[in-house]
Each structure stands twice: as C-alpha cells, then as structure tokens.
C-alpha cells in the first residue's frame, strides 16, 4: 500500500494533534493547582526509564520485534563510545556528532 502526499498530510495533522495534547493539558491543569508529591516522585524516574527503553529497543530489537542479542555489534560499540563521550563532555552536540563518526568508522571496519 503506497501512501500519497495527502495521506502523509493527514498523518502530520493527526500526529500534531496527539503531540499537542500531552503538552498542553498538564500545563493548563497544573498552572492553577498543586501537583501531588507522590506523583512527582514517580514521574522523576520516567525520563531515565523512557530513554533507556528507547535505547535498548534501538540496540536489541529489530523492526519485526525480535530480540537480536548482540548481532548489532557495531551499534553496541558505538553506543558505549557515545556513553563515555556524554559522561565526560556533558555536551549534546559532541555526543551526537562523535557518535555518528564512530558508527560510520566502525561499520567500515567491521
């Protein structure tokens, strides 16, 4: 099934909608009332959990939702490199650029 430009346009509009609601509703609600403490305490761990889940998905799961073990050895090594760079430099830009360089070089070598 090929999608037309119109399908893509529809997709963008729907995406914008689902991207907007979670951004707006809490702003609107909590601009006028207090957030319960326990909820805040729980939500504190959401970013690290979410990003970890996303990274593990990129490294260990293929597009058919199968576990691939250590098949993506280039990605795994590059990920370790990015981790080290991010930890030492604390720079978003350097992490991304050097990460791209690392995976390019590694995929030439391996």
């Amino acid at each position: 099934m090929e999608m037309t430009t119109m399908d893509h346009f529809l997709l963008i509009i729907l995406s914008a909608f689902v991207a907007y609601l979670p951004r707006f509703i809490p702003l609107r609600i909590f601009a006028s009332r207090e957030i319960p403490e326990w909820f805040n305490e729980w939500m504190k761990y959401v970013p690290v959990s979410l990003f970890s889940a996303l990274v593990f998905k990129d490294l260990f799961i293929n597009s058919r939702f199968q576990f691939v073990g250590v098949d993506n050895v280039t990605k795994l090594i590059a990920a370790v490199i990015v981790f080290a760079i991010a930890y030492r430099t604390r720079s978003m830009g350097l992490s991304v650029v050097l990460g791209l360089c690392a995976i390019m070089l590694l995929s030439l070598v391996l």
Binding site: P22, L27, R28, Y45, V48, I61, F83, G93
Partner: protein, 259 residues
Amino acid sequence: MKETEKRWLTVLKIALPLCLSYIPIGLACGILLHAAGFNTILAGLVSVLVFSGGAQFLIASMLTIHSPILSIVTMLFFLELRYALLGASLSQYIRGTSRKFLYIFAASLNDENYAVNYLKFATDKEWKPKDALMVEHYSLLFWTMSNVVGSLIGAGLKINLSIVEFALTSLFIYMIVMQLKNYLTILISVLSGILAIIFMTLFQSTMGLVVATLLASFVGFLIEHEVVKKGKRSKLLNTIKPRASRHTISRKSKVSEES
C-alpha cells in the same frame, strides 16, 4: 528599544548550544523523512507541527515498514505522553500567564528546550516565561531548517540509513547519561531496558516501551521511598557525579526552601 534587542541576543546565546546540536540530528531526520516518502514541504511542516526528534524518527521508520496511519498515530501518542511530565514540571514557573500564552508555549515544548528552560527558571530569577518561549522558538527554527536541508540532501544523495538513525540513539544515550545521578538511576535504567525488550517481544508492539517505562519508574519510586523511609544513608542514593542538572538544582532548591 535597545533593551529588547539585547534581550533577544542574550536568550539566543543561551539557546545556541542546543540549536547547534539540533543541526546534525535535524539533518539526519530530514534524510530519513525523505527516504520515508515525505517531500521537503511536508518535512518542514512536520518539524513545525510535531517538533520532536523521537516522534519524527518514529514516523519515518514506521512509514518505511508500511505501518498504517492509525498505528503510527497511536504509537506517537504513547511516545509523546512523556511531554505531560515536562509540562507538569514547568507549570509552576509559568503561572499567571494568559491562556493564549499557554497555547503557544505548549506547541513548541520539547525534551531539549525543556531542559534548557528548567535550568534557567531554577537558577535565574530574571528568567521570564517569554524568554522561555523565545528559547523554544530558536530551537524550533534550527530544527525545522535542518530538517528541510536534510530532506534536500536525502533527495540528492544515497545514504546508509541505519547509520543516520544512530543520531537519535546517540541523543537518547546522552539524555540517559544526564539523568544518571546515583546508583539507583543506573539500576532503573538497566531494568527499564530489560523490561522493554521483554514486553516488546511479548506484545509485538511499541506499547512495550510504555509498559516498561511506567513499571521501571514505579520501581524507582518505590525503592527510593523505602530507602528514604528507613532513613539510613543508602549507597544507592549517593551522587555519582556532581553537576548542575535540573534534578540537582531542584533538589537543592527544595533543601534551601526547607532550611
């Protein structure tokens, strides 16, 4: 007049590191969107309207495997739910603004400009909601431009997409590293990753990401709650690397409020 000119420049300087790191990621995203069949105008449009690296990479990768629109949008919804947390935590700083301001502010809020703004709000008394909005708009401008250019590059060159996708993986790794503040967060990070693999292979869908995230963060909350309740200094909560992150600052500000 001169005063306002200075202000936009000051804010630009604060937003610039973020804007510059958006360039490689935006280029990568534009290339992927082109490969997924988006023309350049659509790539620009999606960058303005959705304005989320994760979401746009997801759209691109799901389109290339021919997922139906509805399942892409459902996935996006679960991915974008995390923005609820960003909005909730910034809301205390933008109280007293008009509803119109909230509408506009929400539209271009995302992970990265949130991090910049939260830090500024927490540390700089002079930081006003309209400065925060300006940061959002600078980052939006750089993001959209990079996506458009990336889309044009994608049209002209053949590029290995699996390499390009790693730009976003790198960004996520960077985000994890910035969140790691004690041994407990490392534990939760690994736990969440393992749960993600289990639930995604189990459900055969990215819903596994949401379940893993909610479970792992809840476990983090429970463990911290237990440790704090017992009242002894646990090794788990020892800081591993001091830094001026939004968490450190929010914790400090809580302490200073109490004292």
